[in-house]
């Protein structure tokens, strides 16, 4: 059953110390650090408290890496190691494999996201209504989908050696430009324009709106949906692009 394959994909991710370190511990650590330094000021009218704003940003930061690292580097590595070739020789279609990987990427994004929220609630006095917690987590989780698709595109575009550094570089750049480290509101206008177009910013903004007691902004949903469709098409194209067959060597 594909179900069992999906289970193994999740298991191996959760067993990977690198996943725990980079997708779970790092965002929680940064959150505790930043919230302690910048979270003291009382909230200005119409703005979120620092402890909440940073919590949402770091939850996004963790979730994104969970989704991206479960797909990109792994797919590239498995293409070169021959595991995907092995799977092709078994009764499992590649699209089922990719669907399982996509789903596993989403699953492992969730703990990364939730742990930052739990840290905010437990240690930084973040008090949201139950519906806000639920809506925020659900919305931001779904918002991680374009990053899992980006991972599939990277995994099929580059080799096993390149995929990890490339994924990480893209992740860092998009996170910084998307205002996960420094809120775009304090940056020059040109940065704001870039951030507005990035899925990283839109993912955090989704959470900020809900944490602020409002509904998600239509623009956030629209931009994230656009990236999802765009990256989905890119991943499909990269995957279908003709490649030199491994069998050609013999």
């Amino acid at each position: 059953m594909t179900w069992y394959y999906f289970r193994l994909e999740c298991l191996r991710m959760l067993r990977d110390p690198r996943y725990l370190a980079m997708a779970v511990i790092t965002p929680v650590g940064f959150y505790l650090l930043f919230a302690t330094i910048f979270g003291k000021d009382p909230a200005k009218p119409g703005e979120l408290k620092g402890t909440i704003e940073i919590m949402v940003a770091m939850a996004a930061y963790g979730g994104i890496w969970g989704a991206l690292s479960a797909t990109g580097p792994r797919i590239a590595h498995e293409r070169s190691s021959g595991w995907l070739e092995q799977l092709r020789s078994m009764p499992l279609a590649t699209r089922q494999v990719m669907a399982a990987k996509l789903a596993a990427g989403m699953v492992v994004a969730l703990p990364a996201l939730l742990l930052v929220c739990a840290t905010g609630a437990a240690f930084k006095g973040v008090g949201l209504d139950a519906w806000q917690w639920a809506a925020m987590a659900a919305a931001m989780w779904v918002g991680c989908l374009p990053f899992a698709l980006l991972g599939i595109a990277i995994g099929y575009a580059v080799g096993g050696e390149t995929a990890f550094p490339l994924s990480y570089a893209v992740y860092l750049a998009m996170s910084i430009l998307g205002g996960l480290w420094v809120p775009p509101s304090v940056l020059p206008a040109s940065f704001r324009t870039v951030a507005d177009a990035l899925p990283t910013y839109r993912l955090a903004d989704l959470g900020w709106h809900i944490a602020g007691g409002g509904a998600p902004a239509a623009a956030d949903v629209a931009v994230l949906a656009g990236w999802t469709v765009g990256l989905g098409l890119l991943a499909t194209w990269v995957y279908r692009r003709p490649r030199r067959s491994a069998a050609a060597a013999a």
């Binding site: 021959g82 070739e85 009764p91 069998a247």
Partner: protein, 292 residues
């Protein structure tokens, strides 16, 4: 039908390279057939087409009367591929369990592990296996499918002599129940010991097809050697006879006739041995011949 594998007039090109050139091959059920040939002979491409991993340009391939992909899905055929790898981060037992769940009529995971000699390693992470152990995991992935037909593309490559012996011991136990096996290899002693038929490929074509003994015969002379008393007359036997210090060497295309003549003749011979033509010679000659 009693045909496990049927390849009919198949050609496969990669750009300018003709990897498989008008190959026809029928393998009846229950046979163990060796596919022999130097690198680039078209063995792996043939295996890939039998698994439906690549399509022939012309001709047809069927596995147990089904198209390859249908045979794979039904668990009728399973392969150890040359360039395949294993899923990292899971245990041996988890990986074999994945295989078990993908096939319609599998062995139990425990049986497959047992057959591959992996029972004690079942909880080991796949990434922490030696080359030989990883090769046995690949075999277990084939075994768990419980297939009628197995393809083994250089299954013992990267194994030491001991590992090769263990592998084939496990394999023979597995194939005793009438499975069909097609294996590609470089090791001629594996062919001698395990195959009842040898198909030799070179430059994408089948250049020889027969039993190991027939192929050897094609290689030319066998040698019959024995000792005679020093004062004995030079014997007259079919073949080229040389005598050296009481040892008689007969080079002959027909060692049976030479031995019969010797046995029915008057000679007081001792220490008889017959050295068959080596398959190595035969193999070299077949695969290095210029294309016709």
């Amino acid at each position: 039908m009693d045909t496990a594998i049927s390849v009919q007039a198949v050609t496969k090109r990669y750009g300018a390279l003709v990897a498989v050139d008008d190959v026809t091959l029928d393998i009846p059920r229950g046979r163990t057939v060796a596919l022999l040939g130097p690198n680039g002979a078209g063995k792996s491409t043939t295996v890939a087409m039998l698994m439906g991993l690549t399509e022939p340009d012309t001709g047809s391939v069927t596995v147990g009367d089904r198209p390859p992909r249908a045979a794979v899905a039904a668990g009728g055929i399973a392969a150890m591929l040359q360039d395949s790898g294993l899923m990292p981060g899971v245990t041996v037992a988890e990986l074999i369990e994945l295989g078990r769940r993908l096939y319609p009529a599998p062995l139990s995971t425990a049986e497959a592990l047992e057959l591959a000699g992996l029972t004690t390693l079942s909880r080991r992470r796949v990434d922490r296996l030696s080359g030989g152990q990883a090769q046995r995991v690949k075999f277990a992935l084939v075994a768990v499918a419980n297939p009628e037909t197995m393809l083994l593309d250089e299954p013992t490559r990267a194994l030491d002599v001991q590992g090769r012996r263990e592998f084939w011991t496990a394999m023979r136990a597995y194939t005793a129940s009438g499975r069909t096996v097609l294996f590609a290899t470089h090791y001629l002693e594996e062919v001698e010991e395990n195959a009842d038929r040898v198909v030799v490929m070179a430059r994408g074509r089948i250049v020889a097809d027969g039993t190991p003994a027939e192929l050897r015969t094609g290689a030319g002379s066998a040698i019959v050697r024995f000792r005679l008393p020093v004062d004995a007359a030079r014997p007259v036997l079919p073949g080229t006879v040389t005598v050296d210090d009481g040892w008689v060497t007969v080079r002959t295309d027909d060692p049976d006739a030479a031995v019969r003549a010797l046995a029915s003749g008057p000679h007081r011979w001792q220490d008889l041995s017959v050295i068959p033509p080596s398959l190595d010679d035969s193999f070299l000659r077949l695969t290095t011949e210029e294309p016709r």
